[in-house]
């Protein structure tokens, strides 16, 4: 895979404020690469959900645990890998929030929004590493 000067890898402590800084950094880089607003909206939303999940549910806000974020840029694509030090989870066990019986219950919507707004969303088998990929929308999309 080709690399870009903007690529970075960091480890952050399990604090949502640190997650938000990473979010701003990635969004800033996408803005400088002239991604359309709709892409920025989707990536921001997906990063918010993914980083909060890693920090809160994965690492349980444990200050001794970190979240690793790897971000790589291709010409029209950004790939972000987020890995926490938690036990992971079974993605298949997350209830469908849009089914009638779950519609009025909180939960399960974060993953759904990520899948909807990103081009690719993949968890590793143990569920503690998430790959998010966004391919830049073309103008007529």
């Amino acid at each position: 895979m080709s690399s870009s000067v903007d690529d970075f890898a960091v480890k952050i402590p399990s604090e949502t404020s640190q997650g938000r800084e990473i979010q701003e950094r990635i969004i800033g880089l996408l803005e400088s690469r002239s991604y359309p607003d709709r892409d920025l909206f989707g990536v921001r939303l997906a990063l918010e959900e993914a980083l909060v999940n890693a920090i809160k549910h994965g690492n349980g806000m444990d200050p001794s645990k970190q979240v690793r974020v790897d971000c790589t840029f291709d010409e029209d694509r950004v790939t972000i890998v987020i890995e926490d030090e938690g036990p992971g989870f079974d993605v298949g066990n997350v209830p469908d929030p849009t089914s009638e019986e779950n519609l009025d219950k909180p939960g399960g919507r974060g993953i759904m929004l990520m899948r909807s707004f990103m081009s690719r969303v993949e968890y590793n088998d143990s569920g503690n590493r998430l790959l998010l990929e966004k391919i830049r929308a073309t103008e007529d999309e």
Partner: protein
């Protein structure tokens, strides 16, 4: 105490309490907690039964914020009240549609249209 600052702009229009979110981004967990508590207080403490949530300022919200809206909807229904929403930006409306919450919530284009519906 910063956390207790009002996160909702309140205005009474006839019997309807219009609550406009002040924040552009409803993401931060502490903030979401405070906003949730201030919404819930409208029903539980102030006895409001007709409530319109105005989203005109809101550019981003997360699934945690959706959770608070779902609980708010339940509380208002349990109190036999009516909850409506208005002025939702297209991006946010898409979030509601993806999660099918547009079927659960009563959403109107403008404040005027929503007020007519009470």
């Amino acid at each position: 105490m910063a956390a207790s600052h009002r996160r909702l702009d309140l205005e009474d229009v006839g019997e309807v309490t219009v609550a406009r979110f002040i924040d552009k981004k409803i993401l931060d967990e502490t903030n979401i907690q405070v906003i949730g508590n201030q919404m819930f207080a409208l029903v539980e403490d102030d006895g409001c039964r007709k409530i319109l949530l105005d989203f005109s300022n809101v550019e981003y919200l997360s699934s945690a914020a959706l959770g608070k809206l779902i609980v708010m909807d339940k509380k208002v229904k349990a109190a036999q009240g009516q909850l409506k929403m208005c002025s939702v930006r297209p991006d946010i409306l898409e979030v509601f549609k993806i999660t099918r919450l547009d079927k659960l919530f009563s959403i109107f284009d403008s404040r005027e249209q929503a007020l007519e519906g009470f």
